[in-house]
């Protein structure tokens, strides 16, 4: 017993000393809160460090979590740059006045529909809403020409959705903006009446569509290409929706600089870097997203972003995320 007590004390001391060393390392020149995971963003941050010599520290998390942390920190921000999965999250942070205005010179090359009106945030990569379908179960010409068609009883028991997913909610917000609240509500009621299967996320939907567990599902475009790259796509295929249809909304991952950031100059350089041709090509080649800088080509398998995104859908107008959550909650979808 005496021995075990001594060894316990030794263990505690060892752990304490390791903790001390973990705390003392604080030499970052730039801190990023990233709502996109290290597997996607890490290589870009490394490249930025190499090119500029600026040392970057990144806190990875869920988009809502890191945006939430930035909001809770308020005027005492610990991060310089906030980077999230979709325009809705960063719109909330912008609305509470936590972001600074980005230099027009940096963000001008991005079409206005992919950044906020006041340049508080800028899109980095585009992600189109699509309908994934199983080619054994459905022929492309059997799919409705507009997303509204899926509320038809013909699709009963053949749909999958992920109502808790941020991209799905942004799509509903776009639906409300483009077609009105009443139309959005009617569509949601119809799809719900069609007993759409609820999934926790897009990956699970694409997986189920690929295996034929469900005929069609509402997802983002790139999950198909990522699954294909890993040989996991099964019989899934994407249906892109055309101009003027909320079903083809192009949302963006986005970045902004926090008000009160300790390293504003380095932060500006990072945003500049993320919009550079190199970084944009990375999004096109590695994450199968759509570059927001029009001069950079998307993956040849994808339709060009200009064919998908319409100037009349202003992503900044997708700020009413709360209205969408309230609607989904009221309808019992969430």
């Amino acid at each position: 017993m005496r021995l075990s007590r001594r060894s316990a004390v030794a263990l505690i001391m060892a752990v304490m000393s390791m903790t001390g060393s973990a705390c003392s390392d604080d030499s970052a020149d730039l801190t990023v809160y990233s709502g996109r995971i290290a597997d996607l963003m890490g290589p870009l941050f490394n490249q930025f460090e190499q090119e500029t010599g600026v040392k970057v520290k990144v806190r990875y998390g869920d988009s809502a979590e890191v945006a939430g942390a930035a909001l809770e920190e308020g005027d005492k921000p610990r991060a310089d740059v906030l980077l999230v999965q979709d325009a809705g999250n960063i719109g909330q942070v912008s609305k509470s006045g936590r972001l600074t205005t980005l230099d027009a010179g940096v963000v001008d090359k991005v079409p206005t529909q992919f950044r906020s009106v006041d340049n508080h945030w800028v899109g980095l990569s585009g992600r189109a809403r699509v309908v994934a379908y199983n080619t054994d179960k459905v022929r492309e010409d059997q799919l409705p020409p507009e997303i509204t068609g899926f509320s038809d009883p013909r699709w009963k028991g053949r749909l999958a959705w992920a109502p808790t997913n941020g991209s799905f909610q942004a799509f509903i917000t776009a639906f409300r903006v483009m077609e009105g609240d009443a139309a959005a509500e009617a569509w949601l009621r119809g799809v719900k009446a069609n007993e759409a299967k609820v999934f926790p996320n897009n990956v699970a939907i694409l997986d189920a569509v690929g295996r034929g567990e469900v005929d069609t599902g509402f997802v983002n475009h790139y999950y198909l290409y990522r699954a294909r790259a890993e040989g996991q796509a099964g019989k899934a295929e994407n249906k892109y929706y055309g101009a003027g249809d909320p079903g083809g909304l192009v949302n963006v991952s986005a970045a902004g600089i926090l008000r009160g950031a300790k390293h504003p100059v380095a932060a500006r350089r990072l945003v500049e870097f993320l919009l550079s041709d190199n970084a944009q090509r990375y999004f096109a080649d590695k994450t199968f997203e759509l570059p927001v800088v029009p001069t950079v080509q998307a993956d040849p398998a994808l339709p060009p972003i200009t064919a998908l995104a319409r100037p009349e859908v202003d992503l900044a107008r997708l700020e009413d995320a709360k209205g969408t959550v309230d609607l989904l909650t009221r309808l019992g979808v969430l």
Partner: protein, 506 residues
């Protein structure tokens, strides 16, 4: 008092933020049929999971602590390990095995069974959560059984009472407070769980809070809902403490090994049942992870990064467990020895943090850290503090039930012989309570290892743990990459359990 103040920190912040939402809006949000419905679903799930956890946990605890079960030592460790499996991994494993396209469906397919009972919704959530919470009951029951005075049973037997009746009337009531403490942990864990219910598509109150917050980043609304959950959990705590106040059994002497109960012809049956539980609760998730690992090995495993994360996890969880047990000590002593309202309320306050959704607690500590504890914020110390808030009750449950079994007369004797209070605690109470304290440490350690929101938001920037690595990979669907950190997480978590089991059986 300080412990209580730290424990209620998130709740106080919630009240402040809930008030911001305005009372009218608050009432609109809370007083809907949907909220009531969600409350019902959460409570129903918690009740079902708790009953199942007790039905599995008590026999497992007794069999591994007191009988000649074959492979007892091994089963002691293996039946505690499901606690190390994060609930979202347990849920994924349940889907992989029992889902519409799962292993069981494939086996039964050729036999003409083409439809399994629906897994998604209540059945799946109940199964996954029961399998990951029953060790709470096992561990607390074992802690109590180790401390059980064998004289009680012997007296009963010598008075001519049969062995079965002795078990029912003497052993079982002795286990009851510990079982109730474990059941409380299982119930509150279920109330606060997000991972399993979201993957298995069962809409509960906590899931609603997450959805509400993640959709709108409206903390005030989430705060209102979270407060409802806090009130609900206090009600559950009150039920447990009522049950406890009816059973009050104190043993007077000890340190003798209790008699080992021979199982006779039941030995193999018992071992079979234990094996089944281990297969469902542990082997299934591990097998799922190994399948992923095989797929993932093709693209290479980041071994160095995973090991570094393991060290981080062990540090934060180890310190968090020490802090939680240390802080639980005075509260447990107060609660077991005195009946005053200070003790009672301190104890109840401690449970609030545990039953709140992790994200809500983590965000409130972000606010606290960025403004008040600026020196601690985003250091390991802040994470340790968060674990103290979140997991104090786990330490408390195991400690209190063990302390309650130590007769106060031993301490009184020590004091009357001139020993100081400190000396009495160190020389008399501590050695007697050690099994309970060790169990408390192991419990908090296990739970902290798999904790996610606090590790993401409160630890040093750029400092990842095994749990955050698992999350990062699963969130984008790179399941294969999650396998290595998840397996390591289970392995590291088993270290204190192995120590516990070995010491027990010495």
């Amino acid at each position: 008092m300080l412990v209580a103040a730290i424990a209620v920190l998130p709740a106080v912040y919630l009240v402040i933020r809930a008030r911001e939402a305005g009372l009218g809006a608050t009432a609109d949000l809370v007083l809907t049929t949907r909220t009531a419905q969600l409350l019902g679903r959460s409570l129903g799930l918690a009740a079902a999971v708790t009953v199942t956890a007790v039905l599995i946990g008590v026999p497992v605890g007794w069999l591994t602590a007191r009988t000649d079960l074959p492979g007892r030592r091994l089963f002691t460790v293996l039946t505690a390990l499901p606690l190390a499996v994060p609930s979202y991994v347990a849920a994924l494993a349940v889907v992989a095995a029992f889902g519409p396209r799962g292993t069981i469906a494939r086996w039964l397919g050729p036999l003409g069974v083409d439809r399994l009972p629906e897994l998604y919704g209540f059945p799946g959530a109940w199964l996954a959560l029961s399998l990951s919470t029953f060790p709470y009951v096992t561990l607390t029951v074992r802690g109590a059984l180790r401390r059980l005075d064998p004289a009680l049973e012997e007296v009963s037997r010598s008075l001519g009472v049969g062995s079965w009746e002795t078990f029912l009337r003497v052993t079982l009531p002795q286990m009851a407070p510990a079982a109730a403490a474990g059941a409380l942990l299982a119930a509150l864990y279920t109330l606060a769980d997000f991972g399993a219910v979201s993957l298995l598509r069962y809409d509960t109150f906590t899931r609603a809070i997450y959805v509400q917050y993640k959709g709108s980043l409206d903390y005030s609304a989430a705060a209102v809902l979270a407060l409802v959950l806090a009130v609900m959990s206090l009600a559950v705590v009150a039920v447990e403490s009522r049950m406890r106040s009816r059973t009050r059994i104190v043993s007077s002497r000890t340190a003798r090994q209790p008699r080992v109960v021979p199982l006779g012809r039941w030995r193999l049956a018992a071992a079979g049942a234990m094996a089944l539980i281990v297969v469902l609760g542990l082997a299934l998730p591990v097998a799922t992870l190994v399948t992923w690992l095989v797929v993932g090995a093709q693209e290479g495993v980041d071994l160095a990064g995973t090991l570094r994360a393991a060290v981080h996890s062990a540090q934060a969880s180890g310190l968090g467990a020490l802090a939680a047990v240390g802080a639980a000590w005075p509260v447990a002593v107060l609660s077991a020895r005195r009946r005053g309202s200070v003790a009672r309320w301190t104890e109840r306050a401690a449970y609030v943090g545990y039953a709140l959704p992790g994200l809500v607690v983590a965000l409130s500590l972000v606010f606290f850290g960025a403004r008040v504890a600026t020196a601690l914020y985003q250091t390991v110390a802040m994470l340790v503090l968060a674990y103290l808030v979140l997991f104090l009750p786990q330490g408390l449950g195991a400690l209190r039930s063990t302390i309650a079994q130590v007769s106060p007369r031993l301490e009184e004797a020590s004091r009357s012989l001139g020993a100081s209070r400190l000396k009495t605690t160190l020389r008399v109470l501590l050695p007697l309570v050690r099994p309970g304290a060790a169990a408390a440490f192991a419990l908090v350690f296990l739970t902290a290892m798999k904790e996610l929101p606090a590790a993401l938001l409160l630890g040093p920037t750029g400092w990842d743990t095994l749990a955050t690595r698992v999350w990062a990979s699963t969130s984008e669907g790179f399941l294969a990459r999650a396998a290595a950190p998840a397996l390591l997480l289970i392995a590291v978590s088993s270290v204190p359990l192995v120590f516990l089991a070995l010491r027990d059986n010495r």
